[in-house]
Amino acid sequence: MDMITIPAVNLSPILPEIFLSVLAMALLLINVFVPGKQKSYLGYISFIGVVVAGVLACAGWGTPVESFSGSVIQDNFATFFKIIFLVSAGLVILIADQYMEREECNHGELYPLILFTVVGMMLMAAGTDLMTIFLGLEVMSVSLYVLAGFNRANLKSNEAGLKYFLLGAFSTGFLLYGMALTYGATGTTRIAKIATAVGQMSVPSTNIMLVAGMLLMLTGFAFKMAAAPFHMWTPDVYEGAPTPMTAFMSAGPKAAGFAAALRVFLVALPTLQVEWSQVLWVLAVLTMTIGNITALRQDNIKRMLAYSSIAHAGYALVGFAAGNSTGTAGILFYMLSYAFMNIGAFAVIILIGKKGETNGNVMDFAGLGFRHPVLAVAMSVFLFSLAGMPPTAGFIGKFYLFSGAVQKGYVGLAIIGVLNSAASVYYYLRVMVYMYMKEPTEDFEWTQVSAPIALSLLISVAGSLIPGIVPSFILQYAEQAIKLI
């Protein structure tokens, strides 16, 4: 019997993942061995770690390297998404501490779990094997189940965790079945080989097993993106989860879902584009419409933003349905700017909120505009960006997404999209109405803005505005990222 010789592997493509994993483990140990209630130092360390990981990720820009015999790749596409994940994680780490302390659940494990989630998402983006993607997704999901239920003394948090878990597991079943069928139809799990195998089929769309596999995988990813009708978990989980985690979930996993789906569909199954475009067309319409319309009647701002997040998945799906470089580059850009604006909005919600997840209604923003003008202006920037008003990043993102659809010939989709954005304006404006146009019902018991949150707000505002005014550089990166898959 021969020894198994483990092949020489190039670790450089997964350097950020390795770094973050090691850091996370180290933090776990530090947390155990350094006693004390105060855990914010872990946040600082992990923020620095995220920045370092960002640097490591960026270092690989422009030099695609495959490793682990083709189960992972470092390409611009992966790098771009890694940056998105790191941005969301970094911002969330900055806003987490104040909230966690207020809610008395500032366990030190929070930060390692966030970092592990990032590792999982990165693997989803970088994976070139269905197994890698699946495992990355599971690492991410399992961490998120825990994060959603992190405030275990809070029933809402428990419920959020449980719902997320049960539905997530259920969707995993479909995803896996899809992967199995794809495996069956193509004989491999490597994305590149799938592409080859599909390329050899005369008419791939007639192989129902392949199509079904593709569709089932799509449903699995759609669950992570929170696309209708797989979105139902979103409002409840977002509402119940600790607010920083909600912010994180709305930005990171959604992007990760898109990353994986984009990789699988664009690289492995481009020949089935007609089919998946059709499905995505429908899903995009459903998602946008349901998200936006339901959000109109929400009073709880977290829940409202949850529906808004569904709607945003819908917008991104518009670009995905188009499947061309404009649309997909739009997704990349949009996911990045969405991370900024959405986490920024959640940061403000954290500041307004009070212990026990109270004071989280739209009405509680009444009078903010003139009591805390800076905060209100920041919130307005986020909301306008979410609503897609120029000159914010949200507008440019939507512009590219819808342009993709138009370029592809899906003018109808683009029109439904813009009508949806018009409807969405209502509920974003509603917050502003309360902030600026209503008198406060009670005085704000003002908790001081901690430095990390201030920093995250600053970054978020910059991230929502600057790409709106000079979007070229990010768009060009997104273009490059799209080209290389």
């Binding site: 719902k163 259920f170 969707s171 129902i208 199509v211 079904a212 797989f230 499905v279 339901t294 109109l296």
Partner: protein, 669 residues
């Protein structure tokens, strides 16, 4: 040689600016009034020089365009600020500035002590300015500027006592009615401009150019449309049926205003406009007929109303409407010169009448004021026997009344008779002529009746106010009386420049100077008539003319007689008459309910429609649709919300459902 013609409108404008901007600071009435009157006097002098200049030219050359600057140029549309000097406009500026000056003078006395004295003179000067623009403008648009400008001033001056609701209403009514006319005027301009440009590539609205190219126009057809449009404008401005109702109401303004604007000048603008564009109107027999019929009807109709009014100024107002009807009858009969002639004589005697009535009212008001009586100073039933108190006023008033009644030898006789004759003898309306003449003659009789009724009620009999007040009645100051005298004199002699042909021949071939003078203006019409031999005048004998003349004089005398009987001899008679025909009297007294009819037909439906469109359509339908969409979306929002039941199995079901549908579609496609 007419280079300084622009000074004519300029002086009043300067007067307007001074009084308008600084009047409040000046405060001294003499200065304010002096400035106002002097400005008009200057215009009058320049006008005199202008007409003298004009007369020094041979007949054919009596036309000149004086351009100041280009006003609007856009594409092939061009309008200048430029003045047209020709016999017609010269006559008009003479009347306007001459009568205007007298009335300004009069106003200094009449308006003494009124609040906003400066405002009055400012408006009056602005009116002069606008009126002069109207008559001098060398293109339709500039004429329209004056046209609207006088309307504005009329509005402002009617509403001079703005604290009285009736005054405000009357002003607004005048303006709106005028606007209805303007609507027609504008359409006329558009159609004319477009038609000439479109078919002959002559894009112009300038009078001389239009005249020069009028031979390109067809007879009838589009010209009828154009001229009818213009005539609608004229009915508005000149208070003809159906747009006359504003004029009686306009008596809410101070009396000099009524004299100047609502008798002598502005209301004749419609006549002037038709005269100005006679070459158009002559080309449309249909329009001429409409004009003649409307004129005759107005003359008769307004006269009937005039017989039953008790407000001294209202009687005069209806008389004005009626007299304007005459002018239109003349215009409609193709007797443009006769119409303009009547315009002029009417300006004299009607101004005199108004000013005289103003003097009476002034005096009455004064007296009643002293007696602390709240009786109406304008109601003739309160007057009577003023002859002795105000002899000069009475005399001038009487002369003017005789003039308007068409008693031979006075100006009104010549002009009115000319009109009646032309109505009878013109070649345009065939058999209709007799009817027209008849209406005119009856109206003449009615005119004589109500005018003398007025005179008798006012100046004869017993004074019907309290003795205490009576003591305060006295003759007006000289500044008021002098204009009366001048105007009375003019109304007596003014007719002699336009003697009818038969009379002229009687006196040794004195030509009709006025007609001759205006001949260049109406030459095109004459030529047109000459060309269309079919329309050539059927010859009427001089005897017939004499006969008709005598008949009309008789009718007038009959009217005077009836008035004398009813209001001097047997003052019970009117009451008995009223008792006998209560419905008729009520109808006439209430002006045939025309105002009510208009309210019912136009005003109320418009308001109701507006209210419906607002509350019913705008709010319910349009906004309802908008809010409805929003509500439907919100309703969906409510529905979608409840799909989100909170139960895991429902969520899972939704996911499974999605999977099944998506798969099913492709599996069983």
């Amino acid at each position: 040689m007419f280079d300084n013609v622009w000074l004519i409108p300029l002086f009043p404008f300067i007067g307007f600016l001074i009084n308008g901007l600084l009047g409040k600071k000046i405060k001294n009435e003499t200065v304010i009034g002096g400035i106002g009157a002097f400005a008009v006097l200057c215009s009058f002098i320049v006008s005199c020089m202008t007409i003298l200049n004009l007369l020094s030219l041979p007949g054919e050359e009596r036309v000149a365009n004086v351009k100041l600057f280009t006003w609007i140029t856009s594409g092939h549309f061009n309008a200048d600020i430029a003045f047209l000097i020709d016999p017609l406009s010269c006559v008009m500026i003479m009347i306007v500035t001459g009568v205007g000056f007298l009335i300004h003078l009069y106003s200094i006395g009449y308006m003494h002590g009124e609040e906003g004295f400066y405002r009055f003179f400012a408006y009056l000067n602005l009116f002069m300015f606008s009126m002069l623009l109207l008559v001098l403008g060398n293109n339709l648009l500039l004429m329209f500027v004056g046209w609207e400008g006088v309307g504005l001033c009329s509005y402002l001056l009617i509403g001079y006592y703005f604290h009285k609701k009736s005054a405000g209403d009357a002003g607004k009514k005048a303006f709106v009615m005028n606007r209805v006319g303007d609507f027609g005027f504008l359409l006329g301009v558009f159609t004319l401009f477009w038609y000439m440009g479109q078919n002959h590539n002559i894009w112009t609205i300038q009078f001389t150019e239009l005249a020069a190219n009028s031979h390109l126009l067809p007879t009838g057809g589009v010209v009828t449309v154009i001229t009818l449009c213009f005539f609608v404008g004229a009915t508005g401005k000149s208070a003809q049926i159906p747009l006359y109702t504003w004029l009686p109401d306009a008596m809410e303004g101070p009396t000099p205003v009524s004299a100047l604007i609502h008798a002598a000048t502005m209301v004749t603008a419609g006549v002037y406009m038709i005269g100005r564009m006679n070459y158009l109107f002559i080309r449309s027999p249909e329009t001429l007929m409409v004009i003649a019929v409307v004129g005759a009807c107005t003359a008769l109709f307004a006269a009937t109303i005039g017989t039953a009014q008790n407000d001294i100024k209202r009687v005069l107002a209806y008389s004005t409407v009626s007299q304007l009807g005459y002018m239109f009858l003349a215009m409609g009969s193709g007797a443009f010169a006769a119409g303009i002639f009547h315009l002029m004589t009417h300006a004299f005697f009607k101004a005199c009448l108004f000013l005289g009535s103003g003097a009476v009212i002034h005096s009455m008001h004064h007296a009643l004021h002293h007696a602390h009586s709240h009786d109406d100073a304008q109601d003739m039933r309160n007057m009577g026997g003023l002859r002795s108190k105000m002899p000069l006023t009475f005399l001038t008033f009487l002369l003017a009344t005789i003039a308007i009644s068409g008693i031979p030898g006075f100006s009104g006789f010549f002009s009115k008779d000319e009109i009646l004759w032309q109505a009878f003898s013109n070649p345009h309306h065939g058999q209709l002529n007799y009817l027209l003449w008849g209406m005119g003659a009856v109206a003449a009789g009615l005119t004589a009746f109500y005018m003398f009724r007025l005179v008798f009620m006012t100046f004869f009999g017993e004074c019907r106010i309290t003795p205490k007040a009576k003591d305060h009645l006295h003759e007006s100051p000289m500044v008021i009386v002098i204009p009366l005298i001048v105007l009375a004199a003019l109304s007596v002699v003014g007719g002699y420049i336009g003697l009818p042909k038969v009379i002229g021949e009687l006196f040794g071939g004195i030509p009709n100077y006025f007609e001759h003078y205006l001949e260049p203006v109406f030459r095109l019409s004459e030529e047109y008539m000459a060309q269309h031999a079919a329309l050539g005048a059927e010859h009427h004998s001089a005897t017939l003319e004499w006969g008709l003349m005598g008949l009309s004089v008789l009718i007038a005398l009959f009217g005077i007689g009836v008035a004398f009987t009813m209001y001097v001899m047997n003052t019970e008679l009117p009451k008995r008459f009223v008792a006998t025909f209560p419905a008729l009297h009520r109808a006439v007294y209430n002006k045939w309910y025309i105002d009510e009819l208009y309210d019912y037909l136009f005003v109320n439906p418009c308001k109701a429609l507006g209210r419906f469109l607002w509350k019913g359509f705008d709010v319910v339908v349009v906004d309802g649709a908008v809010n409805g969409v929003a509500n439907v979306v919100m309703a969906f929002s409510g529905v979608f919300r409840f799909l989100q039941s909170g139960y895991i199995y429902n969520y899972a079901w939704s996911m499974a459902f999605g999977v099944v549908v998506i798969l099913g579609y492709y599996v069983f496609k």
